[in-house]
């Protein structure tokens, strides 16, 4: 089966500053991958390089496709809806998604919105932070595609909403699709991860299977992740 994501020798600079270098990353289909790293480590940049909205050097292929147009079709990225005014009704945002994305399934959205208890008669500005994040998740998962990128879906959200979002991920991720979830706080999502990718020192610092970390080092994902930041305590 074609890999969900292949990145080879990707470099991204902003002006003179190197944000990411020598990025080599391959993700196989059907996985849930935790993208970990400190704030500002380059997690969002990595996601934008995958969708094509940031342009770097090197090769990036999603589901075997290298062109930006094709990649966009195979990736569902959790957009923060900044392009919409607060006055817009959620139903209008839905119409927009249905028009723009041919793989957007209105039925899937309705199911997700029911599960996450989103009131689609509201206006965007009326949503609480947690509710807005739920909407973003529902819109992202309502597309049926190969690669899902969720950029910090749990930041500033209460634990009940977090649990709901985690459950919706388990329930609605298509079997062969791969999902990348970025977070700088790992403990809550650790049980649902197949693999972890750590962005550190402007590159992919490590990429491992989650249960392998537990088996090999007898420590939790969070402890392992934190250990990478303590000098002289490298589990390699």
């Amino acid at each position: 089966m074609t890999d969900s994501l292949t990145m080879q020798g990707v470099i991204y600079k902003r002006g003179m500053k190197t944000i990411l270098h020598d990025v080599d990353l391959t993700l196989t289909p059907g996985k849930i991958v935790g993208l970990l790293g400190e704030n500002g480590a380059g997690k969002t940049t990595l996601m934008r390089l995958i969708t094509g909205s940031a342009k770097g050097k090197g090769t990036t292929m999603v589901n075997g496709a290298a062109s930006e147009a094709e990649r966009k079709q195979y990736v569902s990225f959790s957009e923060q809806l900044r392009g919409f005014s607060g006055n817009v009704k959620l139903s209008r945002i839905l119409d927009f998604y249905e028009t723009v994305y041919s793989d957007f399934e209105a039925d899937r959205f309705t199911e997700l919105a029911d599960f996450l208890q989103i009131d689609t008669s509201l206006k965007l500005a009326a949503l609480s932070k947690g509710m807005k994040e739920k909407l973003v998740i529902a819109l992202t998962l309502a597309r049926r595609t190969s690669l899902y990128l969720l950029d910090e879906p749990f930041s500033g959200i209460d634990s009940m909403s977090r649990k709901k979002i985690i459950n919706s991920i388990i329930q609605w991720k298509p079997e062969n699709a791969t999902m990348v979830i970025s977070d700088h706080y790992v403990s809550e999502i650790a049980p649902i991860l197949d693999e972890i990718v750590v962005v550190k020192d402007q590159t992919i610092y490590t990429h491992r299977k989650a249960d392998e970390v537990r088996e090999k080092f007898n420590i939790g994902i969070e402890a392992y992740y934190e250990s990478l930041y303590e000098r002289g305590n490298d589990y390699d």
């Binding site: 059907g30 996985k31 849930i32 649990k163 985690i166 459950n167 388990i170 329930q171 991720k173 079997e175 403990s187 650790a190 049980p191 649902i192 991860l193 197949d194 989650a210 249960d211 537990r214 088996e215 007898n218 420590i219 939790g220 994902i221 969070e222 402890a223």
Partner: protein, 123 residues
Amino acid sequence: MNFDDKIPIYYQIENYIYHEIITGALKPGEKLPSVRQLAVDVTANVNTVQRALSEMITAEIIESKRGRGNFVTMETAKIDQLKVKLVTAQLERVYDQLHALNLSDDEIVTSLQQYIQQRGQAK
């Protein structure tokens, strides 16, 4: 389900289902929920649940029937063996820890008896 992040998740799911089988919450011959349903029930990933099931299939506690799903074995002897195995594993832990506290075998037996008696009175 609350997982211990230090222990492989598939292993914890495996033990959870074994527990359900030994206590009779899952009966011999009973069909297990679908993999995705189990994943939702325990809040884990589908692949991890699948791995736990594969281990249980290898251990012959679960039978996979093509196109029909996964079933608890009908062979109660296998479930009895599983119970012995899990009980032994628990006892082994207690025994090792008490030994580490320099208790002799006799002292371990005596303290266990005392403990059980106290527990009985507490109820």
